[in-house]
């Protein structure tokens, strides 16, 4: 009962909030020329960006600018991380970082993944946390929103898909920053730390010394959640009591995790002018979300298997969970954080019951149940293209998506994007499962250890960032491999869909009639859901069988 109330309030409430936010985001990202305030912002952002801010770019130029900006993001943060021991705002005197760790971390935060092969309170100076990592949490999320806005403009049939350096400012200054300024003060009032003072030395009641790390947590946490970043200020992320002091900060954080990804669907619908279509997409995503939540909550109600036979009171699995966050939190948060590409954790995923652990993996394999800010909807666009293609044939016409004919070229790009995701996850897992790189890094032997490797690459390719943290993933091999996976898994799924839209824009648009495939009804919704399952999940069934499912059936 308690579960149902919490889930309903958080998912339902956020869905309601997302609608006006989506409308606002559509205005903020795509004000058009009729909104005087929008035009003023556009002019301001063009002035800030200077010479590169052409009002309308070709899709190739747009992507080139996007990539250039991301190169700058990577380089600046790399430099800050590499020099942190010489830079200010380092009250605890954090030292130099391993070069492969710097590469991995810069790649991780540039790609909105926030896979962390370090522990924040152990390794990072406050400057690294704020100027390198938190900055990337803003601009990488903004990159995703900008890419979605560009995609939507292309589908809407605009003459150009916009200007990236303007879009990225719109997303940073008009969307993410205002949201952070709304949410962060509430987090502060709910008891979350926000200080630049270094760690404090405490003397416990029993007389022992305890070092208590702290820092500018609230600012960091807020954008971490709103931008589907997920990188924790502290190592254990949002299970840490200073990063998640109460049930209420936890509830608000869960809303923040899913809010912008939900609103992105509405923003997409508004820009393309097809809110009914957006509703169908939203419904499909919500369906997947609810199924996953139901599964996770059910599986996690089972007790910790290792305690079987001991005189321990009956309870749900409490290993890796925090009592103040409530019993629903572990599974619910695990689903939300992996449905979106957030990756922050409210419980230790490695210690989830085996089948519960499968749910977040499935979320990352699909990577489109709302997904990362901007990019989740872009991923869903790929599934839509495939669904439209198969369904379009079934109604006896050359497949069309909102009047855009889907032909061999679009198909090639869409299938390549879907292939890349499967290849990165399964290929990476295979490489590490068969070699000491992975075999010697797992904490638990057997199927669970396999799950740890599988989870790591799923998380990297889906740009999620959560992990089965028992895995010793700090090795150079993991740093480099997941770093590459994150980069490819981030940029190809942005480049390919925008190339698809570029190709669609160049074609004559077809008229719609009752003979064309409708994308605004329940039938198409079912088609889309089936496509997501078959193309997104079926590929991973063998891996799932050898990981979580094998572990489950091997339980005593």
């Amino acid at each position: 009962m308690e579960h149902i109330v919490v889930v309903t309030l958080i998912i339902g409430g956020t869905a309601l909030l997302s609608l006006p936010l989506g409308t606002y985001m559509a205005w903020a990202m795509d004000p058009g020329s009729t909104s005087p305030r929008g035009t003023r912002f556009t002019a301001l952002f063009e002035r800030v960006a200077g010479p590169g801010a052409a009002t309308g770019q070709s899709w190739q130029r747009y992507l080139a600018t996007l990539l250039m900006f991301n190169v700058v993001m990577f380089s600046v943060s790399f430099a800050i991380l590499a020099l942190q021991q010489h830079l200010p705002l380092n009250p605890d005197g954090k030292g130099a970082l391993d070069p492969t760790l710097i590469f991995n971390t810069a790649a991780s935060f540039t790609t909105n993944t926030n896979l962390q092969h370090y522990s924040g309170e152990v390794s990072m100076s406050y400057l690294s946390q704020l100027a390198a990592l938190m900055w990337l949490q803003f601009v990488s999320a903004a990159t995703g929103i900008a890419a979605l806005a560009a995609l939507a403009r292309g589908i809407a049939g605009r003459e150009t898909i916009g200007s990236f350096v303007v879009d990225v400012q719109r997303a940073s200054f008009l969307v993410l920053l205002p949201l952070c300024l709304l949410v962060a003060p509430v987090m502060v009032l709910l008891g979350m730390p926000m200080t630049l003072q270094g760690a404090v030395q405490a003397t416990t009641l029993e007389g022992a010394a305890q070092t208590i790390s702290r820092g500018p947590v609230t600012a960091f946490l807020t954008i971490k959640q709103l931008g589907t970043n997920g990188g924790g200020f502290f190592g254990p992320n949002s299970t840490h009591p200073l990063e998640n002091p109460s049930f209420w900060t936890n509830a608000l954080a869960m809303i923040a995790i899913i809010l912008v990804p939900m609103a992105c669907v509405w923003m997409f619908g508004r820009i393309i002018g097809r809110m009914r279509h957006a509703t169908v997409v939203f419904a499909v995503m919500t369906l997947f979300l609810l199924v996953k939540i139901g599964a996770a909550v059910t599986f996690e109600a089972a007790p910790t298997a290792a305690l079987t036979g001991l005189p321990v009171a009956e309870s749900s699995n409490l290993e890796g969970k925090e009592l103040r966050l409530g019993a629903t939190t572990g599974p619910l948060w695990a689903v939300l954080t992996t449905s979106t590409s957030n990756g922050s954790v409210g419980a230790m995923h490695d210690s989830l019951n085996p089948l519960t652990g499968l749910v977040p993996m499935a979320g990352m394999w699909l990577n489109a149940t709302f997904g990362g800010v901007g990019v989740g909807m872009i991923n869903m666009f790929l599934y839509i293209i495939v669904a439209v293609f198969v369904a379009g044939m079934m109604v006896g016409r050359t497949p069309e998506y909102l009047g855009h004919r889907i032909e061999a070229k679009e198909m090639r790009l869409a299938v390549l994007a879907l292939f890349v995701h499967a290849f990165l996850i399964l290929g990476g897992t295979a490489l590490f499962a068969a070699t000491p790189w992975g075999q010697s890094a797992v904490q638990d032997a057997g199927a669970h250890g396999f799950s740890e490797i599988l989870y790591e690459f799923s998380s990297a390719s889906a740009n999620n960032g959560s992990g089965f943290e028992g895995l010793g993933d700090g090795s150079w091999a993991f740093n480099i491999a997941t770093g590459i996976v994150m980069l490819v898994g981030r940029f190809l799924p942005i480049i390919l869909p925008i190339a698809i839209v570029g190709s669609l824009m160049a074609k004559r648009r077809a008229a719609e009639s009752s003979g064309t495939l409708g994308v605004e009804d329940a039938t198409f919704g079912s088609m889309l859901a089936i496509t997501v399952v078959i193309f997104g999940a079926l590929t991973f069934l063998p891996a799932a069988a050898l990981g979580p499912i094998a572990e489950h059936v091997s339980l005593p």
């Binding site: 200077g50 900006f69 926000m194 416990t204 009641l205 001991l310 005189p311 925090e322 989830l352 091997s554």
Partner: protein, 192 residues
């Protein structure tokens, strides 16, 4: 080339506003309105020494204190973490057996609450369940030479439902409880 220049200008602008500006605003807000929690909910004793944080579990092993949940990082608040053990891992079984005997044993009729034998996510969970606290009441009472009921009453008084109507069980902040125990009941000489 104009791409690079524009990118650098936008990087600078976002760095200035989203990092410097935003941090300053939230920092100012927090330090002005909620300085205690903003600085880590620290608890200072009469001598002015920091004894810990209300939000951070610390190690307790003396019988006169209520003990927190086990910690995979030995309550290191400078490097927190969970056990990350698979729920089927035998290490969990071994740890639970150890803890059960440390807590003076348990039986099928008087089982130990699960939270006392499972490590939390960060290893710093400041709370235990009400049942977990009551489970220890007898030991604490004995160590402090008071009636069990007195301890139980103090525990009950401090038990809260963390999410109001949205959570089922009640929990107790261990450090808070132990501070109250120390304040209200003289600690036995043995532990000094």
């Amino acid at each position: 080339m104009s791409n690079l220049l524009s990118s650098l200008r936008v990087a600078l602008a976002t760095m200035a506003i989203c990092v410097a500006g935003y941090t300053a605003v939230i920092l100012g807000f927090a330090q002005a309105l909620t300085p205690t929690s903003a600085n880590g909910s620290l608890i200072t004793n009469d001598a002015g020494t920091v004894v810990g944080s209300r939000l951070i579990a610390q190690a307790f092993s003396s019988p006169e204190y209520v003990w927190p949940r086990p910690s995979a990082v030995d309550y290191d608040a400078g490097g927190a973490g969970g056990s990350n053990l698979s729920p089927a891992n035998p290490q969990i079984t071994a740890r639970a057996q150890e803890l059960i005997s440390a807590h003076g044993g348990a039986s099928v009729d008087a089982p130990i609450p699960a939270d006392l034998v499972t490590a939390s996510g960060a290893g710093l969970d400041p709370h235990i369940s009400l049942e977990g606290a009551l489970f220890q009441a007898a030991r604490v009472a004995e160590a402090r030479g008071v009636e069990v009921s007195a301890i139980e009453r103090m525990i009950e008084e401090r038990a809260v439902t963390p999410g109001g109507p949205f959570t089922a069980g009640r929990i107790v902040n261990v450090l808070d409880l132990n501070l109250t125990l120390d304040a209200d009941l003289a600690a036995p000489a043995a532990s000094q």
